[in-house]
């Protein structure tokens, strides 16, 4: 596996660090400041929720961290890599190996079975077929979909599709999970199931999780830290004791 170049020799404890991050769009004559001077530092292994109303710029921040979009100004450093210094090819490799993504609309490819969807990143990573099959099976087992490997996404419920998407995000063993409204299209019960899985990845695999959501209750229940955005600006950044964790502690006490 070829690795993405690491910019600073001194390893940083931060998984994600943005400095004065800006993303401005021009729409006709008006300039839209989707992200306007956001500086965040997220340590490795933290579970962070990015909160805000729609249009607050939270998804734009996520896309910039995912390397899908380029900032107008400012820097994004993820796991010691300055994304602005990576070529398009290197950014693709970064998305392939460092980042796992889940979306509100699941974004599975409709023409492929679950197993094929899950192993797709491995195809881009040029992993051997036999190893690919084993890894895909393992990932689907982890999210409890071992019986559904040959189904197409349209034959599954929303919760099952999101689980498959999680399996796909997991398959390349990324250090960073970026989730954009992962429960937005799910009922609250299924949403909880998905969030439990995300927390499991965070706790058991040590993945740093950055989740965009507008559901404050959900964020408070799972995230260790809440970052609030409004009109592209960071308005609040505070630590949070996840409810689930709290209730677990309560149960033990």
């Amino acid at each position: 596996m070829t690795s993405v170049p690491v910019t600073s020799a001194a390893r940083d404890t931060a998984a994600i660090r943005t400095e004065n991050l800006c993303r401005h769009y021009r729409m006709g004559d008006t300039l839209i400041r989707a992200v306007d001077g956001v500086s965040i530092e997220i340590p490795r292994g933290e579970f962070v929720a990015l909160l805000g109303s729609s249009g607050s710029g939270k998804s734009s921040v996520l896309n910039l961290i995912a390397g899908l979009d380029h900032p107008t100004s400012g820097t994004v450093v993820v796991q010691d890599r300055d994304l602005s210094k990576l070529s398009r090819e290197e950014l693709a490799k970064y998305r392939l190996r460092v980042v796992g993504m889940v979306f509100q609309s699941f974004n599975l490819i409709a023409s492929m079975t679950l197993a094929e969807n899950v192993e797709l990143p491995l195809r881009f990573a040029e992993v051997e077929r036999s190893r690919r099959d084993a890894l895909a099976r393992e990932a689907l087992e982890r999210v409890g979909l071992q019986a559904r490997t040959h189904h197409r996404p349209t034959e599954l419920s929303g919760g099952e599709q999101q689980r498959a998407a999680l399996a796909r995000a997991l398959i390349n063993r990324p250090q960073l999970l970026l989730a954009d409204e992962p429960t937005g299209n799910l009922d609250s019960h299924t949403g909880t199931e998905i969030m439990d899985l995300v927390r499991e990845f965070n706790e058991q695999l040590g993945m740093t999780v950055l989740m965009v959501t507008h559901e404050r209750a959900l964020a408070e229940r799972y995230a260790q830290r809440l970052i609030f955005l409004a009109d592209g600006k960071l308005v609040d950044d505070r630590a949070n004791v996840p409810d689930a964790l709290a209730s677990a502690h309560e149960g033990r006490l």
Binding site: A92, K93, R95, L96, I109, R123, F124, A169
Partner: protein
């Protein structure tokens, strides 16, 4: 992405929009089919023409004449080299030397003379020429009435159709249909002809002591001489040929043919004999021209060059076929262009299909990029799809073109048979055309895929994922 994965994904994507991609592939097939059909027709016609010409014995024959014949005056090769007076005599040693040149099958003298033939007590004047045994395979004698000479020395004769008409007094008026050769042959086969000819009889040398040794012209040449005697030879008519085997010779072509060995043994007085009497150093026969048969028409040029180096003048139909080949090259070019036009139209179909696929698969491209596909991966995927359509279209197209050619050939042969003409194979699909057409289809498809693939690769993933 590795090639097998790429191919698998491309084929899967093609299956997803089966109808549209099939129609596009059919478009390519039709393009390739028209290209193959057109070119195979051109190639087939060319092969047919070559085959006919080779069979006619014209293509592989070089006619060698001495420069002393003064025939080729003014031709490029005559301007340099020895003058006719100084050049070699085309005699038996020269013939043997030519026959031993590489790629030469045989070199036989052209024995050709105008003489009188009596049939049914009436005299007829015509040109007689001698044929080697190998002429049996010539087209003109393959389909003739009767049979070829029983041996190379037999006192037998084959007539050309027009002479047979003359013998029977059945020469049709201009514009009237020709009588059937079978009807002409029936009363003539097995009948006898009386040929009168002038024989050259070499006289023995006068004893040298009679010549003064200090005579200014006192060399051995002066002692040579011959007399001319009128002779008769009875010949049996064994065949009547419909075709004209000597069409290349123009006005000097013969209408009556004798076996070569027989003709040589007759020592018929040749027009050159009179001129060469002043020069021939021996009693070796001197020929006015020699026909050289070459193993393969492709080697005619080399043999011609070798003979020219020996100091003789040559003529071959190759000089004439050069323009024929040029004609076929132009014909193939035009047929190829027309065939390619259909493929060009098909390539627009590929562009359209793939651009449509980008619009349809915007989201899919966005997803692939989000999970780590590089621009190159996306580009190669679209490229592979274009290439796969090209390969499929090419293979199906070659099959289709082959079938079309077959059907045209079959249909034409039915027509030819109705016109009581022999069936012909005028259509050919050589292997290079099969391979070339498929490669051409793939190349055209890949070129057509360039723009869509580039566009897909440049697609902004954020934009592509934003909308449902």
């Amino acid at each position: 992405m590795k090639l097998p994965d790429l191919t698998e994904l491309a084929l899967r994507n093609l299956r997803e929009s089966l109808l549209r991609n099939s129609l596009t592939t059919v478009g390519i097939s039709v393009g390739v089919a028209s290209l193959v059909a057109m070119l195979s027709l051109g190639i087939g016609l060319q092969q047919l023409a070559s085959r006919r010409l080779v069979k006619s014995g014209l293509f592989d024959t070089v006619i060698v004449t001495s420069r002393r014949e003064l025939r080729g005056m003014g031709r490029e090769e005559e301007r340099n080299g020895p003058t006719p007076g100084e050049s070699r005599v085309l005699d038996e040693p020269a013939r043997q030397q030519i026959e031993h040149l590489p790629n030469v099958l045989e070199a036989y003298p052209d024995i050709r003379f105008v003489t009188e033939l009596r049939y049914d007590e009436k005299p007829h004047l015509t040109t007689v020429s001698a044929l080697p045994a190998s002429a049996q395979s010539n087209d003109a004698f393959e389909s003739m009435q009767g049979k070829f000479f029983s041996s190379d020395t037999a006192a037998e004769v084959i007539l050309q159709k027009s002479f047979a008409e003359e013998l029977l007094g059945k020469t049709p008026p201009l514009g009237a249909p020709d009588p059937d050769v079978a009807d002409l042959a029936k009363p003539l086969l097995g009948k006898e002809l009386l040929m009168r000819y002038a024989q050259r009889l070499t006289t023995p040398s006068r004893p040298t002591p009679l010549q003064p040794s200090d005579s200014p012209s006192g060399d051995s040449l002066s002692s040579m001489g011959y007399s001319v005697v009128s002779r008769e030879q009875v010949l049996t008519i064994v065949g009547v040929s419909d075709l004209d085997p000597e069409s290349m010779r123009g006005p000097t072509r013969a209408k009556v043919f004798l076996p070569l060995k027989l003709a040589q043994s007759l020592h018929v007085m040749q027009p050159t004999d009179l001129r060469e009497i002043s020069r021939a150093a021996s009693d070796q026969p001197v020929y006015s021209s020699i026909s050289v048969r070459v193993k393969n028409p492709a080697q005619v040029q080399t043999v011609e060059d070798a003979v020219k180096k020996m100091g003789f003048t040559t003529f071959s139909i190759l000089d004439a076929t050069r323009s024929l080949r040029q004609f076929f090259a132009v014909l193939d070019l035009f047929l190829g262009i027309f065939g390619s036009l259909a493929l060009a139209v098909a390539s627009i179909g590929i562009v359209n299909t793939l651009v449509m696929a980008i619009l349809e698969r915007r989201r899919e491209i966005g997803i692939m990029k989000a999970i780590g596909a590089s621009d190159g991966d996306v580009k190669r995927l679209f490229f592979a799809e274009a290439g796969a359509m090209g390969v499929l279209g090419g293979v199906v197209g070659v099959g289709l073109g082959w079938t079309i050619g077959r059907v045209i050939n079959f249909g034409t042969n039915i027509y030819l048979q109705r016109q009581s003409l022999p069936a012909e194979h005028f259509w050919a699909v050589p292997w290079w055309l099969v391979g070339g057409a498929i490669i051409f289809a793939v190349v055209v498809s890949l070129v057509s895929g360039l723009y869509p693939a580039g566009r897909a690769a440049r697609l902004d993933p954020v934009q592509a994922l934003r909308y449902e």
